[in-house]
């Protein structure tokens, strides 16, 4: 089970400056040390993965939960899914939201990283604290606050728009119209994701040697050229990691969409993959069909992260 819901340091964060030499060659001891982790992962991650595959190949509904034997149906759940227009609109929605969020997150994160680099000490602290507050907010509490900010009757956004435009926005619902729903969702997701990206890129840019930038300037490179020709290539690997991680995080958003739907979105028009699996499985009891979607979802995730995993393995050299 992935634990990247918290937008913390990404996996593979700790550098390995030098391979430490093995001190033990005992056969049993390392396995003894690994036993607790292996047991937990095999039983609580490995088994459910296999079970997910098994469920996806069987007719499994509420009745089967009560003890009716599950019938093997081969790939029927998959063919049903792939010929279901609802699944495709959910998938398209998820990918659309992901692309928008990743592009905006990386762009804003880059701009803020450059801003951090340009500021004096005091203002840098001010901006850092603002970003840290957004980053530290627990996702669920954050969502409820955003729901209140955009509330139809008393939300501050409608208050401010009314004051700013002179026409009444009171009573305007931000969640009924799917497009506005996703605008709000994107805003919230980007708000939560930008701080980590900005800090990471800022740290990366600060490692670009000053001499190289000065040399580029002496050679007549404009600020934009210095950025795209010197700074970006220097931190290319960081960009790769950030983009892959952002894609994964934004594709599997659950809490944000689930809570916004609870406050006032229309489920059939706003569900993304994670929420859809929850709806189909936990909500309606179509465990087999939902598992087929879950398997497809997992495959998509692994394909997206394959490059990142390969790069990490290469980076580490001696795993």
């Amino acid at each position: 089970m992935s634990s990247t819901t918290l937008q913390a340091a990404p996996p593979g964060a700790a550098p390995v400056p030098r391979a430490s030499r093995a001190i033990g060659t005992g056969r049993l001891l390392p396995w003894l040390l690994l036993a607790p982790s292996l047991l937990a992962l095999a039983v609580i991650t490995g088994y459910p993965l296999v079970r997910m595959l098994w469920l996806s190949l069987h007719e499994y509904e509420r009745a089967q939960l009560m003890g009716v034997p599950a019938e093997f149906v081969g790939l029927a759940n998959y063919t049903d899914t792939l010929t279901d227009a609802r699944f495709w609109s959910v998938a398209a929605r998820s990918f659309g939201l992901m692309v928008v969020c990743v592009v905006v997150t990386i762009t804003v994160g880059t701009l803020l990283a450059l801003l951090l680099a340009r500021l004096g000490r005091a203002m840098r602290l001010v901006l850092s604290v603002g970003l840290l507050l957004a980053w530290a907010m627990p996702p669920l509490a954050a969502m409820l606050v955003w729901g209140w900010i955009f509330d139809t009757q008393y939300g501050v956004v409608n208050h401010l728009l009314t004051a700013a435009t002179g026409t009444s926005w009171m009573g305007h619902s931000w969640l009924i119209d799917p497009l506005q729903f996703f605008a709000v969702a994107s805003l919230v997701i980007v708000w939560g994701a930008v701080p980590f990206v900005a800090f990471t890129l800022y740290a990366g840019f600060s490692q670009v040697p000053g001499e190289v930038l000065e040399a580029a300037q002496l050679d007549g490179a404009s600020a934009a050229q210095r950025f795209f020709r010197v700074q970006v290539p220097f931190v290319r690997s960081i960009y790769t990691v950030l983009i892959v991680l952002s894609m994964i995080w934004d594709l599997k958003v659950f809490t944000q969409i689930y809570v916004l739907q609870g406050i006032g979105g229309i489920k059939s028009e706003t569900s993304t993959l994670g929420v859809y699996i929850y709806e189909m499985g936990m909500g309606q009891g179509h465990y087999g069909a939902a598992s087929a979607i879950a398997v497809l979802f997992t495959v998509i995730m692994l394909v997206i992260s394959a490059y990142y995993v390969r790069a990490t393995v290469k980076e580490e050299g001696d795993l």
């Binding site: 992935s2 550098p15 390995v16 390392p30 840290l132 509490a141 690997s237």
Partner: protein, 308 residues
């Protein structure tokens, strides 16, 4: 806590507090001063925008109900009241606050202790020993982190159900343990690998036993890594919502995030004041904690990724 050179955890946020790197471009003083003020102003606006939801949560939680749902917008509380906190803590009859707090604390600390123990010995195994299957194990914990929990929820739910552990702290704790282990092992592995074995060997030449050499030399150098991964496990367990939603459905077994959701029901209007007070109770301790330890959180992604 001083960072051992062996574990160069460069922290981005802390770096943000240091002076600008050399190579900042020279400009004529007057223009530069104007630009500095300009960028400072931009930073102030951006900072306020990012912090706004946190402020709005605090503000609303301190307002009396008639000001929250009145015609006029109250940007700050003129006469702050703690009544919303009373409502959130004592009048949420469907699912009370204190049991939810107890559940959250129990799960969080249980996961913290268990994951640190498992991950610590696991990280030792994969860094200090060479054995068949080691590479495969390390690779699989890397890959497992990419599998979305959202996809696993049905089979995990059925597994916990099969153990008769739904609505128990133990059931949710086990799910969280498996969830954080790959990341904690992976991260700790980097820290352990960063401590040269030679230090231990030198201590053993000086007459320490292997065990004593490890506890006296290597373990203190690992402290920052243990803190970083511990913080991660803690925040993960405290904040997690989706699994708690499906495993802890009974009012008395809810964790705080699930408890917060009970403020909104289709049948009646939301008490925004109480909901924001509840959010403050859940969020502010974490935010304070995060601000204190963030330096340990933003890992050395950069030092690892940038090949100078």
């Amino acid at each position: 806590m001083s960072l051992a050179p062996a574990a160069p955890v460069a922290t981005a946020a802390a770096r943000a507090l240091r002076p600008a790197p050399p190579g900042a471009v020279r400009r004529p003083p007057l223009r530069r001063r104007a630009a500095t003020w300009g960028w400072g102003l931009v930073a102030l606006v951006v900072s306020a925008a990012f912090a706004f939801p946190v402020y709005w949560m605090l503000n609303t939680s301190l307002l009396p109900t008639d000001e929250i749902i009145g015609p006029r917008l109250h940007l700050w509380p003129d006469e702050p009241t703690l009544r919303n906190y009373g409502t959130a803590i004592f009048e949420q009859e469907r699912s009370p606050f204190l049991p939810a707090l107890g559940n959250s604390l129990t799960v969080t600390f249980g996961v913290l202790v268990a994951s640190m123990l498992c991950a610590f010995v696991g990280a030792l195994a994969v860094t200090r020993f060479r054995f068949r299957g080691r590479r495969a194990f390390v690779l699989s914990i890397l890959v497992v982190q990419m599998i979305p929990g959202e996809a696993m929820m049905i089979s995990v739910f059925q597994l916990v159900d099969g153990w008769r552990l739904l609505n128990t702290v133990l059931g949710l704790g086990l799910v969280y343990l498996a969830g954080v282990l790959p990341f904690t092992i992976w991260t700790l592995r980097g820290f352990v690998a960063g401590v040269p074995v030679e230090l231990e060997e030198a201590a053993m030449i000086d007459g320490c036993s292997r065990g004593r050499a490890f506890w006296a030399i290597t373990f203190p150098l690992l402290a920052p890594g243990l803190v970083a991964t511990g913080v991660f496990a803690f925040l993960q367990a405290w904040n997690e919502f989706m699994m708690a939603l499906i495993i802890m459905q009974r009012p008395e077994s809810m964790t705080l995030p699930v408890w917060l959701r009970t403020f909104q029901q289709a049948t009646r209007a939301t008490d925004w004041g109480a909901l924001m007070a509840g959010s403050v109770l859940v969020a502010v301790p974490v935010i304070v904690f995060f601000l204190l330890v963030q330096g340990r959180m933003t890992g050395g992604l950069v030092s690892g990724a940038v090949k100078g």
